[in-house]
């Protein structure tokens, strides 16, 4: 009986660690997807460099991830998001400090990335959530990068 219980415990632990590994693989795969979005469709001789932070969250059915940031004048930023291999799982909106909506990717077929040319430094909030018509929950990743001329 003792041996059976021990085996049961070992197998349960194996099961849990396997689940963790597979979940980690899923979330890690988003990193490369978003990284690729940062180099997509660049029309001039420039590159996008990330701010050095990865904004990863697990989003449930009605959950919104809210990112507070300062966008500096004279800079073009790219916001890129992913919640899986399909490009259009994620919705994101950009609001100014008075909650005026500046942009929503839902107006552009849930585009997974968008560029923002900033004329004056502003405080803003980026809200990200899943498009519930396409995905109900899962790991989501967002990156903010700024444009540098080569």
């Amino acid at each position: 009986m003792k041996n059976s219980l021990f085996s049961f415990a070992v197998l349960t632990l194996t099961l849990i660690s396997s689940l963790t590994l597979s979940s980690q693989t899923h979330c890690d795969s988003l990193h490369n997807i978003v990284k690729d979005l940062l180099s997509e469709n660049i029309y001039d001789n420039s590159i996008y460099i990330t701010d050095g932070q990865a904004y990863k969250s697990f989003l449930g059915e009605s959950e919104i991830s809210e990112i507070s940031t300062t966008l500096f004048e004279g800079t073009t930023y790219r916001i890129a998001t992913s919640a899986g291999i399909e490009e259009n799982f994620m919705l994101f909106e950009l609001y100014d400090q008075d909650r005026n909506l500046l942009f929503s990717n839902s107006d552009y077929n849930n585009s997974p990335y968008w560029d923002f040319k900033v004329e004056n430094t502003i405080e803003c909030t980026i809200e990200t959530h899943l498009d519930l018509n396409k995905k109900l929950e899962g790991c989501a990743l967002m990156m903010i990068a700024f444009k540098k001329a080569k």
Binding site: L11, L15, L19, H26, I49, Y55, I67, D96
Partner: protein
């Protein structure tokens, strides 16, 4: 009991095979969703305060500003690279790791390759002292070595190094150290910007310092939520002293409708901001930034 064991054994083998295979979301999406739902408490790696995540400006972006303004390279402003093993506690190590990160970016921006290599090496040593050397994996080191002399690649790798540390610390739920590395990087940015301001007190330089008020306030909230030792309290006090000066600045904001060019996926944000900052006040603010940075590196 034997039947139960057999069932669990088959299930475990099945899951192991599944997790070792190539990930194909279309086939397994619902299974993944169920699995990740069970594990959601381990997934979030952001510095969340309530429901808000704070995004801090890139150290690289701020040092690029110095290059764009033709301010020139000032090696005398950089933190002494040999000091990387001079700190005895993790609090100071983490702050100085951030400082070295900004110095690495500064050297990369000005194409000072040998200096950049020295700062990269210092960061690696310091990350070993902090037991976060896994953030500097062999792949990153190899890429850095391969790209010596390629300015843009070094810049990107500086950003990757920062991100690697950030991700590693957050995945290991070490939010305190993560916020200190970010804070250290930003303090060094402000130190460099402060010296630039002292050399040329133009309206642009005044605005550059004034515009960092919100970033400072984000850091205060972040630090209050990630640490509670005396060291944190002291650092927060120093930040709040600077914020006290910033409170004298009146900021005005006017919403202007943005314009979008969907063919290139770009929106221009046209809202206007202005501030009442003047040189007398900014003089006091930069003096505090310089003092803060010197206290951390000593």
């Amino acid at each position: 009991m034997t039947k139960t064991l057999h069932f669990i054994l088959y299930l475990a083998i099945g899951v192991l095979c599944f997790s070792c295979g190539e990930f194909k979301e279309e086939d397994n999406e619902s299974s993944f969703d169920e699995i990740t739902h069970l594990l959601d408490s381990t997934e979030s790696i952001n510095l969340e305060m309530g429901n808000t995540i704070f995004s801090m400006p890139s150290p690289i972006q701020l040092v690029l500003e110095l290059q764009n303004n033709n301010d020139g390279f000032h090696p005398e402003l950089l933190h002494e690279v040999s000091q990387n093993n001079a700190y005895s506690d993790d609090f100071k190590r983490a702050l100085n790791l951030g400082i070295y990160g900004t110095d690495l970016a500064y050297c990369s921006v000005f194409e000072m390759t040998s200096e950049a290599v020295a700062y990269f090496s210092a960061m690696k040593h310091m990350s070993e002292d902090l037991h976060i050397n896994y953030a500097f994996d062999n792949n990153l080191i190899q890429r850095f070595t391969d790209n010596i002399g390629n300015n843009d690649s070094l810049l990107i790798l500086s950003s990757v190094a920062y991100q690697s540390i950030d991700v590693y610390l957050k995945e290991n739920e070490n939010y305190g150290l993560s916020s200190l590395v970010l804070a250290g990087g930003w303090i060094e940015n402000m130190y460099l910007l402060s010296h630039k301001y002292n050399n040329n007190k133009s309206e642009h330089a005044i605005n550059e310092i004034a515009q960092q008020q919100y970033v400072l306030e984000h850091f205060i909230t972040l630090l209050k939520n990630t640490g509670n030792s005396d060291d944190y309290w002291e650092l927060i006090q120093q930040f709040e002293d600077i914020d006290y000066l910033y409170q004298e600045i009146t900021n005005e904001y006017e919403y202007v409708a943005p314009s979008t060019n969907s063919s290139i996926k770009q929106t221009t944000i046209k809202s206007k901001t202005s501030s009442s900052a003047d040189a007398i006040l900014i003089d006091q603010i930069v003096e505090q930034y310089i003092e803060l940075r010197n206290t951390i590196t000593e």
